[in-house]
Amino acid sequence: MTLQPNDRVAGVPESGIRKFFELAEERDDVISLGVGEPDFSTPWAARSAAIHSLEEGRTSYTSNRGMADLRELISDYSRRWDHDYDPDTEVLVTTGASEAVDLALRTFISPGDTVAVHQPNYISYQPGIEFAGGEPLGVPTRAADDFALTPEALRAAGAKEADLLVLCYPNNPTGAVMDASEVRAVADFCVDNDIDVIADEIYAALTYDGDHTSIASMPGMRERTIVINGFSKAYAMTGLRLGYALGPAAAIKSMNRVHQYTMLSAPTTAQFAAIEALRSCEDAVTEMTAEYNRRRRFVLSRFEEMGLDCFTSRGAFYAFPECGGDDEAFAEELLEDQGVAVVPGSVFGESGEGHLRVSYATGMRELKIAMNRLEDFYRSR
């Protein structure tokens, strides 16, 4: 037999999200609350800068680490979360935050390493860990803790023995955030047990009624943390594929070794867009964030009115209500009966069972109709 995938690849199952994508694609009257990206367009100033760079013929590779201006701007931007990274040695621009996650996993996982991942969580971490030869250790988080990661949960899952922790807050799929004291407790656990952290903070700018706290800003954490962020969510630039990693110089140098041989450099056009985004699109981000926040409050109060239990999610653009029982059947029937697409929580790990990921990256008009349909469905069930 030719072209057989290796065991690592063959061992990773297809994502459960695929099935719902196909079901939703079958009909054209669906209101989708299943989308994991902004419904806004990239701010025009950023698009325009990208177009201009194309007109000027600026389409060659950039330095492996990304354009110097961009790294400088990223370094300044990230100060808002108490970061202090040297643009020349501690910033690496990547092809989406996804590449940064993959680089970090491949750079810091040695074969057989145990990598703790809290659950429910974004679907790419576990396969990424397995591709890199690590052994994922799921750490369940609970609705009772508002889906924040706690030292108790880490201990209960046996994460004391872990070499690495992948941390993602504000979280996809729950919309959970962690406040400073909660982050501090996890940081202390990592320092005490000598665990390095890959902190995927792609949703950091989308934190409502409070500020994001980065684990890298906690005592003893800077030297053991890779911070990952990007432009996809905050600047609505998903298709431009631009992210970055921040970390101690030696760690970034190691990641760059993989990056320079596999990616060479992040897309140049997207780097021009990102420079303009950081220079002049802060207001657009503020507006988008305010809009998400209004939708978040709307969705949460509609859940309350219809009697659907949901903790107060304060980040990203997801709510994670409890539908009870078989979440997959619930989501499937909701799609069939009412034409509303959501993603069943179990897709994001076992501890997501009995929940739904409801994305509010959808206009208010659709959101209102979808909530009415969901209410009809829920009450008749």
């Binding site: 999200i17 994508f21 994991g36 790419s124 409050r297 709307f298 697409a341 208010m364 209102k368």
Partner: protein, 162 residues
Amino acid sequence: MDTKRELLSLLSTDARESTEDIARQLGVDAERVEELLDELEAEGTVRGYQAVVDWDNTDDQHVAAFVELNVELDRETGYEEIAERIARFSEVESLRLVSGDYDFAIEVTGDSMQDVSKFISNQIAPIPEITQTVTHFIMETYKEAGIDFGDRDGDDRLSVSP
């Protein structure tokens, strides 16, 4: 952003939302929204609620023009007094004092170009303080009140994505 400021920003995007839906989005109850609306109206912050109409999509004749006005002030007459006289005409949709080559920028509407021209020459130009008028008929509206009339973009995102 405090609730009142946020209510303003919400209304300026869509003033037709129900009080209940506004309340849900602001995280307060409907009575509080009514209270704030009353306050905003009473203090003169919110002056009205209007639809943004693309008249080209109606069968009606609708003509609009921007008119530049130059005025001459004297001891007795200031901008305020002149503005007051111009604002009284129902044909005048907007009236602003601006910096630059002319003094007032007004928007005038009517059923035909003739209608608008007549109004300018018979009602506006004769005002003694007005020294010059320049009328610009609006040929096409691309964007108004923050709404892009050409924007017919559908949602081309994948319907379900991680």
